[in-house]
Symmetry: C2
Subunit: 512 residues, 2 copies
């Protein structure tokens, strides 16, 4: 089998020994590896050395080896017995809420299987802060680490079964997660992550042994854990930058991972600036009574037909509506705005809303779906408070974007590409987001939804050994900007709390 | 406490973090270490990273660290909690027959305790060959590895108790052993060591973790295993060369580890040649009926008083004689020769031996100690066959020395210093050894007995971090010469089978 040029699998031919060259097996093997890889720093586990003489003789001095690399140091992750064996790699997107795994064939680069599961640490605390406090309890950190390691191992079990391979066929694992989750996976104390000056235990965990972490894989498998650029800029974002390619481009682009926490990277091949800020759960539909995660019957698209003066509503699976997800909510706000049902402050205008505006316990609620059309049997409504919350969230998001752009003296309108990452991000309709002034008024073609960029970045490095150095380059070129909630920020935030914005010249395409 | 300059213990001051430099603890620690050590390649166990944040804060950004090194790579072997704790190192001379351990205080360099024990693998086979064959059986290698690891751990237990320290106070371990014993300790298959072309699994095991090998020590302790220069030139000899200092001298010296197998290194600061050959167990008193290892009542010195025509006999502890050890046997042969009781072929001369030559079952035996003077109650005798065997052994030894010297065109008479290593070697009387032609006829001051040079070499590297590079220099400058038993060798051997030698001009100081 001929492997692609950038695979981590390399064929190593070893010079046979002789009476005139009785160099040991390990050193002849290392010399051959050094010739192929051009490295002086190579790490070989003793468990591989134990098997080496037999493998060398059984394979006629020609071994199929799997490598991994961190900085200048290479690691031998395994020697495969048989040329037809599947050599697999596991990419892990280690999320606070959801963990996504992907199994890849390392020689072809093809995806073998994928799965996701709710992070079992949720049983301890839904958010990172709760978990970090839990880690301070006796045995708390161990409990959290075991939960996530066991969770991954259970999922690996099922993934392996689904494609009929064994754990021992997994030689490489890459993990991209936020800094806290990475610490909790590795059993590193997260105490100082949330205390000024917010110091991680480690920035570059590098290549570790799967055995050491406790991940079920080949006994010599190596795990690359994406580095972080601080407590609030994790390996998931570095993987995302790698996948987006913004650090390889001449033009300046932006990458935004939209969620409860908006994580933003702006830059090009010469520089990268990054920041993160709370955009608020409203963006994910989290605070609305009718809000829910995307799923069957959930409203994910709403548009407004000016002529018919009707909302056109789409649900996932075209089922009767059960609720609304984040992208649906942004569409709804945009539709309400262009229909004139809410004003530029996001307040309902009773004279336009008419019968859709009802009174519930003294609070105004807007009926999105009347009871007769709802799968729930009751009206699906949103309140003025829900809308206010959404407006604050969209304002926060826009302010973060404006602040980071002004920090480097770039105008948002100059951006070459606007990458939107994250599951939620991939559902957002750019037009609606522009209409409410959450995202800047760029040509819709400027927006590129790139999905789970963290998982994609983690996958990329498993199948292309040339990318490893780029990770360090990305990490070291990031300037992390702490968003100080100072007067400038507050002024920008206040101006952004209007639909689309106080300064309408920033949103020329929005007509209302 | 101020540590000596070459100690492995270094005080590492870490820059405190701040909002403007939120580099992680691990990376700030590494940067500080790199400033002190000047290295780019540093290995820190995850188990130390786990403890790092608390240690940094508890010790006010100033950590007392223990390092170890292999080639260009440094290893963090531990961070000591308290400045007054004993930081210990363990030197191991891993012999086929006897294992010797020495516990050292790494900050003062002082010896804390020492002990030795019979290699428990003797229960499987007394010699290496038997053990290597045993290793081929199912679970054989595991059994051998467990035996030696458990043996070391039991001895470490007692050593620690004897000086009131704990296992966890041991941070560094250095192991010097022959190539086979090293393989058996590390669980590496010794199969090819004894099969042409005699290839070890590994030449440079380097620094390993004590946990991985199973040696009881601090959880982050590192074990340096001396490298070998082939199957028949082990780390014990490299440690011996390091201790002897021959590789640092302008003048050419020789180092001989005298035993069943004579191991010889000849050279100076520019080059080293080495060889090994069977000198025969006769030299260690192993084949003689009255032969035994040095111990109470054992004859270790014999001289002959020409005037009184009497043997002067010394026993260890001045007790009634029970037997004779190797050095006593060499003395005896020399005394018999100078007294004229044996001829130049080593054959008893009945007319001179007189009543000391008795007949036992048709074989001639020479009475060394008459029954009345013996602790055994019977005559202590040696046979003609014993003497013949000793002559063959001394001839083999001399031939090996001559062969290696002629290989590099050096005359034995030019040697600056003749180092004799090994427990047995330290007991040999150079004058006697010269008299029988076992060692070359050099001024007695040329001979230096250096005892257990393997243990001393292993100890040196624990207390002087500047010596580590020298080990690789020694290893790479060794040219190992296979002693081919060719016509040249056989001619030399035949000429050496006389007392002191066929060519008497080689031994001008020997009068008989």
């Amino acid at each position: 089998m001929t492997e692609p040029i950038n695979t981590w699998i390399k064929q190593i031919k070893i010079a046979p020994p002789s009476l005139s060259d009785n160099t040991a097996d390990a050193e002849r093997f290392e010399n051959s590896i050094n010739n192929v890889l051009g490295t002086q720093f190579l790490d070989i586990d003793t468990c591989l050395l134990v098997k080496l003489p037999k493998l060398i003789h059984d394979n006629n001095f020609n071994l199929r080896c799997v490598f991994f690399k961190d900085h200048k140091k290479w690691y031998l992750a395994g020697i495969t017995d048989n040329k037809t064996d599947t050599v697999a790699g596991l990419a892990v997107d280690l999320g606070t809420t959801t963990v996504v795994l992907r199994l890849l064939n390392l020689s072809t680069g093809k995806i073998l299987a994928e799965s996701s599961f709710a992070n079992p640490q949720i049983s301890v605390g839904p958010d990172i802060l709760a978990r970090i406090h839990f880690a301070e309890k006796e045995n708390g950190l161990n409990t959290l680490t075991s939960l996530i390691v066991n969770g991954i191992n259970n999922a690996v079990d099922n993934l392996c079964k689904s494609c009929n391979i064994s754990h021992s066929d997994i030689y490489l694992v890459s993990v991209a997660g936020n800094t806290s989750m990475t610490h909790l996976l590795l059993g590193l104390n997260p105490y100082y992550l949330i205390r000024e000056p917010y110091i991680p235990v480690i920035n570059r965990p590098g290549c570790l042994s799967a055995t050491e972490i406790g991940i079920k894989a080949n006994e010599s498998a190596k795990v690359f854990v994406f580095p972080n650029a601080g407590s609030y800029f994790g390996g998931d974002l570095i993987a995302g930058i790698l996948y987006s390619g913004i650090s390889r481009k001449e033009n300046t682009s932006i990458l935004v991972d939209v969620g409860t926490n908006a994580e933003v990277v702006l830059g090009n091949k010469n520089w990268l600036v990054a920041c993160a800020g709370a955009a608020g759960p409203a963006l994910e539909g989290g605070v609305t009574k009718m809000g829910m995660l995307a799923g069957p019957g959930v409203i994910d698209r709403i548009s407004y037909d000016h002529t018919a003066q009707l909302f056109s509503i789409h649900t996932i699976g075209d089922l009767p509506p059960v609720g609304i997800c984040g992208s649906g909510l942004i569409d709804l706000a945009a539709a309400l705005f262009v229909s004139g049902m809410i004003d530029i402050r996001g307040k309902f205008i009773p004279s336009v809303c008419k019968t859709r505006l009802i009174d519930e316990d003294g609070f105004k609620r807007f009926v999105v779906i009347f009871a007769k059309d709802s799968a729930k049997g009751y009206d699906l409504t949103i309140s003025q408070a829900d809308l206010d919350s959404l407006v604050r969230s969209k304002a926060a998001m826009y302010t973060i974007l404006e602040t980071i752009a002004s920090y480097v003296g770039v105008s948002l309108s100059e951006l070459h590409t606007f990458y939107v990452a994250g599951t939620f991000g991939s559902l957002i309709d750019a037009r609606s987001a522009i209409t409410i002034g959450m995202l800047p008024d760029l040509a819709e073609s400027t927006y590129k939804s790139i999905g789970n960029s963290s998982l994609e970045g983690a996958s990329m490095i498993l199948t292309d050994c040339s990318l490893m150095d780029e990770i360090d380059i990305i990490r070291s070129s990031i300037t992390y900007v702490e968003l100080n909630v100072n007067q400038d920020f507050m002024n920008r935030f206040s101006a952004a709390k209007f639909l689309p914005h106080t300064n309408l010249s920033l949103f020329p395409s929005v007509k209302f």
